[in-house]
């Protein structure tokens, strides 16, 4: 199986550790990962902000970069949802202009092979125990796009539950949005922060040592609030926990 890592522009620039963690997990499970160097961005920010025209070249670039792989794995549910739900529509809207020949066919070939990390581990590799160890209490934030757009359900929780030594601490009002919302976080900063403050209070009420989620963007927002308030809570992407050393390494 040829596996490509879709790092996402956001993790590439800000959170390279997340990508390295994905590579580590997959390699430990015996899979080789390639990084197609031509990849850039799925277009989600432009699409959700109303700049649809700017997305078409990005869709074109995405299909070119990832053509030919059996699986394209990404540590971002919202980018995976963007590709799966919207690349086809964007390609269809481009079809009339014929600016990018065969774009619809290329999108149709690539998008079904895009998997969010936990989907890939649970559905494709059929695993929940990835052989990691993490002896800490962890609060898990369910990101909206992972639950509502991508429908990954409890896959992240199942993976976390199988991590050696990890205790999951349930977050109250877990289905509530943290308030990130892409450009919403800056265009409606006051509302975004009010939502984030409530989310932080719910997360802190768990008494967990570590906050994790399947998407870095929400973690950047919640983590930014935690960091400003001087909270000692650590913020880690799910992949970083799954990449943690196995129990034997700990001894």
């Amino acid at each position: 199986m040829r596996i490509a890592l879709f790092i996402t522009c956001f993790n590439d620039a800000l959170f390279p550790d997340v990508g390295q963690a994905v590579v580590r997990v997959l390699r430990r499970l015996g899979h080789e990962v390639e990084f197609p160097a031509a990849q850039t961005c799925c277009g989600q920010m432009h699409f959700n902000s109303g700049y649809r025209d700017a997305c078409i070249p990005l869709v074109d670039g995405f299909t070119a970069a990832f053509a030919g792989y059996d699986a394209i794995v990404t540590p971002s549910p919202s980018c995976a949802a963007m590709v799966r739900h919207h690349h086809a529509t964007l390609a269809a809207s481009d079809a009339a202009t014929r600016a990018h020949p065969d774009l619809q066919d290329r999108v149709a070939a690539v998008t079904p092979r895009v998997y969010e990390l936990t989907e890939f581990l649970v559905d494709v590799l059929g695993l929940t125990d990835v052989g990691a160890s993490f002896p800490h209490t962890v609060a898990f934030h369910r990101t909206c796009h992972s639950v509502r757009l991508l429908g990954i359900g409890d896959r992240p929780e199942r993976l976390l539950a199988a991590v050696d030594g990890l205790t999951l601490s349930p977050v109250p009002r877990a289905d509530q949005c943290c308030g990130f919302g892409g450009t919403f976080a800056v265009k409606n900063a006051d509302t975004s922060i009010a939502m984030g403050d409530d989310k932080v209070a719910d997360i802190l009420s768990t008494g967990a040592e570590v906050l994790t989620a399947a998407d870095t963007s929400c973690l950047m927002h919640i983590g930014g609030l935690l960091s400003r308030s001087g909270s000692p809570m650590r913020v880690m992407h799910l992949a970083e926990i799954l990449a943690g050393p196995g129990p034997e390494a700990r001894r």
């Binding site: 590439d12 390279p16 961005c41 949005c177 308030g179 900063a189 609030l225």
Partner: protein
């Protein structure tokens, strides 16, 4: 309860202060800031939305066929939108055949003029009103006040809003932003100015408040000769109009006066009587979390000797045909005004309804108001243009919607319309459009992205401390982020640079 034998003479209220209006509401981010600064409002909203949200989840979970009901509801409404002209004419024929009068109103001014004309023809100086979103949309109360005709809102929450010289903030519970003590104060201070006063020893006990409202309203019900209502559904096949309410005030207005005027948005149709079955299951569970609606009134034209002897149906367009012409946006016309999307919306929960600057607040307001104001066809004002952005796109609204309106999809669609209007009307791109164009250019090739990452990394190291950028007086979006949130500095080495250097082999840096 004692009912007065003789109608009480009216106290005219046309000398009141000017009626409050949504006009002049600032763009959403600014209006939200005001609302967020009010701790009482936030506490009231949080309590109310959490309660109704939990109740709704429970009663919806009771139905194994909920998803099929949603699909059926959406399909019936889509059929209505597809066949609207024919169905409207069918409704008109059925209403006329049953003794009603049908009026067609292109816009708010048309509709208000029709209502005023009918009221004047009967020489009335007051009307009683059933709660109605459509008449708020057309600002009927204001139009009638200008003509010297008093309007009495008879829905409890609408009455609280009206007595409090206030604006509604929720579709179903327009006084959701008020708590019991505030309501007690409004009743005590205001009821006597426009009718039967509240008892001097009124407390904030809900029973006492309801009794005061009942007595205050009763004299208006018994006196009024003209009533105005909206309608939840209109059955094209039979000409039947349905009003769904939970207090019985609607039933009073619909049966006691001599004349009834119903203002109905043209999308409120269902093709056949049988279709009501679907909506009378979907609506109460989604709206008030009730299994069955308490007061469902239905009437067909005029029945001699029973109820109003003159019935006027005003069919209102007011932008709806424009919405219908937008293939993505038209799903907003399926809306049955249940408010489930408001109750689950994390933005609405914090800002309340008035920040949306329209009688239609929350997620549905954010997609309906701009469309009714013509966003698909021409540039709109700044407040209207801000509405599609008043969402984190979390998707809770779509999950809750009983007629499966994909609100996030429409929000993003309307954002694109706002961006296109801005591009056409600005010869020089706005700062936002400029940044987006620049980002789009950078993201087109991996080489450009790699360079930008190296630049960002350098910049981050200049302003960052210990891997984070803290409080910083920055302009625009950076400042908006950093006001309360730290930002991780861009990595010293991006992932792609690390991969190029190590081939993904060296993960100990």
């Amino acid at each position: 309860m004692t009912v007065p034998a003789e109608p009480v003479p009216p106290i005219h209220a046309t000398t009141r202060r000017p009626l409050p209006t949504f006009r002049g509401t600032p763009p959403f981010p600014e209006a939200a800031r005001t609302a967020l600064a009010d701790p009482q409002l936030r506490a009231n909203l949080r309590r109310a939305t959490t309660t109704i949200r939990d109740k709704r989840s429970r009663v919806v979970a009771e139905r194994e066929d909920w998803e099929q009901l949603r699909l059926a509801g959406a399909a019936i409404k889509d059929e209505v939108l597809r066949d609207l002209p024919a169905l409207l004419e069918r409704l008109e024929r059925a209403v006329v055949a049953a003794g009603g009068v049908v009026h067609w109103a292109r816009d708010a001014a048309d509709a208000n003029a029709i209502v005023i004309e009918v009221a004047r023809a009967h020489g009335t100086t007051e009307v009683v009103k059933v709660k109605s979103m459509t008449t708020q949309e057309i600002e009927l109360n204001e139009a009638l006040a200008i003509e010297g005709i008093d309007v009495w809102e008879t829905d409890l929450a609408e009455m609280i809003v009206q007595l409090g010289h206030d604006l509604p903030s929720h579709i179903l519970v327009p006084a959701i932003h008020r708590n019991r003590t505030e309501i007690r104060d409004i009743f005590r201070d205001e009821m006597g100015k426009v009718g039967r006063p509240a008892p001097a020893d009124l407390t904030d006990d809900p029973k006492q408040l309801a009794e005061a409202a009942r007595r205050h309203l009763r004299e208006k019900f018994l006196r009024a000769r003209v009533a105005v209502s909206g309608g939840n559904f209109a059955v094209a096949e039979t000409g039947t109009i349905a009003v769904v309410e939970s207090e019985g005030n609607g039933r009073m207005c619909l049966t006691l006066p001599d004349v009834l005027i119903t203002v109905l948005g043209i999308e409120k149709l269902v093709p056949t009587w049988r279709d009501l079955e679907v909506f009378l299951q979907l609506l109460p569970r989604s709206a008030t979390a009730e299994r069955m609606n308490p007061y469902t009134s239905m009437w067909t034209g005029v029945t001699p000797g029973d109820g109003p002897q003159e019935f006027h149906l005003v069919l209102l367009d007011n932008g709806r045909t424009d919405v219908l012409s937008d293939q993505v946006g038209r799903q907003a016309l399926r809306c049955i005004r249940c408010s489930a999307c408001l109750n689950v919306c994390p933005v609405y929960e914090r800002t309340g309804g008035r920040a949306y600057g329209s009688p239609y607040p929350g997620p549905i307001g954010a997609i309906l108001t701009p469309q009714l104001r013509g966003i698909a066809h021409h540039p709109v004002d700044k407040q209207t243009a801000s509405l599609p952005f008043a969402s984190s796109l979390c998707g809770a609204c779509f999950d809750a919607c009983p007629v499966r309106i994909d609100i996030p999809e429409v929000l993003v669609h309307l954002r694109a319309q706002v961006v296109e209007h801005a591009a056409r009307s600005h010869r020089i791109p706005t700062p936002e459009a400029g940044s987006m164009a620049a980002a789009g250019w950078v993201l087109q090739t991996a080489r450009r992205l790699g360079r930008a990452e190296r630049l960002a990394s350098l910049g981050g190291r200049v302003v960052g401390r210990r891997g984070a950028i803290g409080r910083l007086p920055a302009p625009g979006w950076a400042g908006a982020w950093l006001r309360r949130r730290d930002l991780r500095t861009p990595a010293r080495e991006s992932f792609r640079a690390w991969w190029r250097r190590t081939g993904g082999r060296d993960d100990a840096r």
